[in-house]
């Protein structure tokens, strides 16, 4: 263009500056991107998936049962160290520890997962209503102060004795003793957000409490909820193991990591593989769950998105 053209006036472009040039923001895509950026989390996720697959698929093929009188008389099969036929060796009944561990893991993980999902679901709903309503808060705080001070393990023991052992009984007992503290954590968060200006704005627009919880508060709590889940699952697994250790919780014909570890505590040094391999598997499940959960929780916090 010539100088004359360049230095002549052109129409103003007011509206153009309103255009946002950055690409559309998508919450879940940003969460995914943040998660994937952590190599550790990806590695742990792969490990976790592998462990889960083994726990749920291997027992189908092995047909393992705890009380298997099939080869019980063949003493040569007992207490074998890990070898090419039995990767984890054999246990006191001559069965492959490999089969036992995965069958046990399946039970332990299932109960922990179900307990986590159920207690978190109840805890979030109760906690949200609790936090939003000032009158319910006054009441629930008293309930919480009482209930929270009773040691969880004691209650579990009592319920175990009262209702007997069994998968669903244990599940019930675990949920009943955990939802309160989850509800409390959620309540604390809800109170933080409840009086923020955008919530006041929603009230002036006539928004009902249920919608407030669903649209205004819960979306901000995703990070917190994921943290809770990632903390609770390892807690439940450990709890089941601990109860198995005490000889309560699951019945003796249900395979579980807790039972195995309990059975072989005498073997910490002698035939050590019998104790340490189940412990190792337990540790791997717990740690990988925790790391994946924590990374997901951080990634869900929009403040970490750029």
């Amino acid at each position: 263009m010539s100088d004359k053209e360049l230095f002549s006036f052109v129409p103003a472009k007011g509206d153009e500056s309103e255009i946002i040039s950055a690409p559309l923001y998508s919450y879940w895509k940003s969460v995914g991107r943040k998660f994937i950026s952590s190599k550790l989390a990806i590695a742990m996720l792969v490990l976790l998936i592998a462990l889960l697959l083994m726990s749920f698929i291997q027992p189908i093929f092995s047909g393992y049962t705890v009380i298997n009188s099939g080869k019980i008389d063949d003493f040569s099969l007992r207490y074998n160290y890990p070898n090419f036929r039995d990767w984890f060796g054999t246990d006191a009944t001559g069965q492959s520890l490999f089969d036992a561990v995965w069958a046990g893991a399946k039970t332990s993980i299932s109960i922990a997962m179900l307990a986590t999902l159920i207690s978190t679901f109840i805890g979030v709903i109760v906690g949200a209503v609790w936090g939003l309503s000032k009158s319910i808060d006054k009441f629930m705080i008293e309930v919480y102060n009482v209930v929270n001070n009773v040691p969880q393990v004691l209650v579990l023991l009592v319920l175990s004795y009262a209702f007997g052992s069994g998968f669903w009984n244990l599940l019930f007992a675990m949920c009943v003793t955990s939802w309160v503290s989850i509800a409390y954590q959620i309540r604390v968060q809800v109170i933080m957000y409840r009086d923020r200006e955008y919530n006041i704005a929603s009230r002036t627009l006539g928004t009902k409490p249920a919608t407030m919880i669903g649209k205004n508060i819960l979306p901000y709590l995703i990070s917190v909820i994921v943290t809770i889940i990632s903390n609770q699952m390892p807690v439940f697994i450990s709890l089941e193991v601990f109860l198995g250790f005490l000889g309560v919780g699951l019945p003796s014909d249900t395979p579980s990591l807790g039972r195995i570890i309990a059975d072989y505590t005498d073997n910490i040094t002698n035939h050590a593989y019998l104790f340490w391999i189940p412990v190792l598997i337990l540790g791997l499940v717990t740690v990988s769950l925790y790391i994946v959960g924590q990374t997901l929780a951080d990634a869900s916090d929009p403040r970490t998105h750029q």
Partner: protein, 352 residues
Amino acid sequence: MSNKKVILSAKDISVEFQVRNRTLRAIRNISVDLHEGETLALVGESGSGKSVFTKVFTGMLETNGSVSTGTVTYGDMNLTNLKTNAEWEKIRGGQISTVFQDPMTSLNPIKTIGSQISETIIKHQGRSSEEAKAIAIDLMNRVGIPEAEKRYDEYPFQYSGGMRQRIVIAIALSSRPKVLICDEPTTALDVTIQAQIIALLKELKEEYGFAMIFITHDLGVVASIADKVAVMYSGEIVEYGTVEDIFYDSRHPYTWALLSSLPQLATTEKLYSIAGTPPSLYSEIKGDAFAPRNPKPMAIDFVEIPPKFPVSDTHWAKTWLLDERAPELTKPEGIQDLHDKMVKIYAKEGGA
């Protein structure tokens, strides 16, 4: 004033940020000098980069930001070479202090006011704690805290916003810095408190003799406190001059727009406002950054960034309008004879 020594100097400073694998230029080639005892007002909207620019002087850029070109000199020390926190600690707080906008978050809520002032004195001047306390109380008196002795042991929550900002100023001045950077120090305060804080800063400047960089987006405050004014837009200084140059002889369309939108100039029917939204700090700019919002742009504004055009010894502007090839364009009618207009407005108003 123009013979005073230069105490702080920025030459061709550009600042870049790493955001998601992209490099974005937040500050684009700024050169400006601050003279001894002078108050330089940095005027601009959000996103103009004024805070980022002043952080360059105290080494407080965020971790993903860096000075990509240019040098900053303080006296005869080259600040761009400072890398470690330890090196910056000698300058920051001691030679160059900053007063931030929010007095609520600038103070530590769990320490007494007195201890926070004394701490700085002990650190930068190496005094004993009794000496520091005496100096601190003296400072508190100086910045207008009533019953300073008693209030020395109180906590920030027992102070009002204006009082807290006075303490922040006291802390900033405790080590007698040569340069005080004030980043919108009165924006969060009530109007009457703002007036008092500005009066206080002017007095302290007379007494202590420091140079000041004052960031604001309020032209009234600029008129009150500035000797020189730099108008920033989208990471550049688009006009620079004495406060009289900027108010009575402005040359850049953005400065015209800012002056035109002063509420005092509104008639009963119309208040001038600038169309559109300022570009975000991270947008790509082609040509003159203000062009999309300029009510009378030229074709070249969308093509090439204008260079600095001098208007006088003290005054320059980055606009193609000052190029000799450009057609005549006088500033908008609304801001011509600004002084006379203001005199009329304020003569009518009682109490001014």
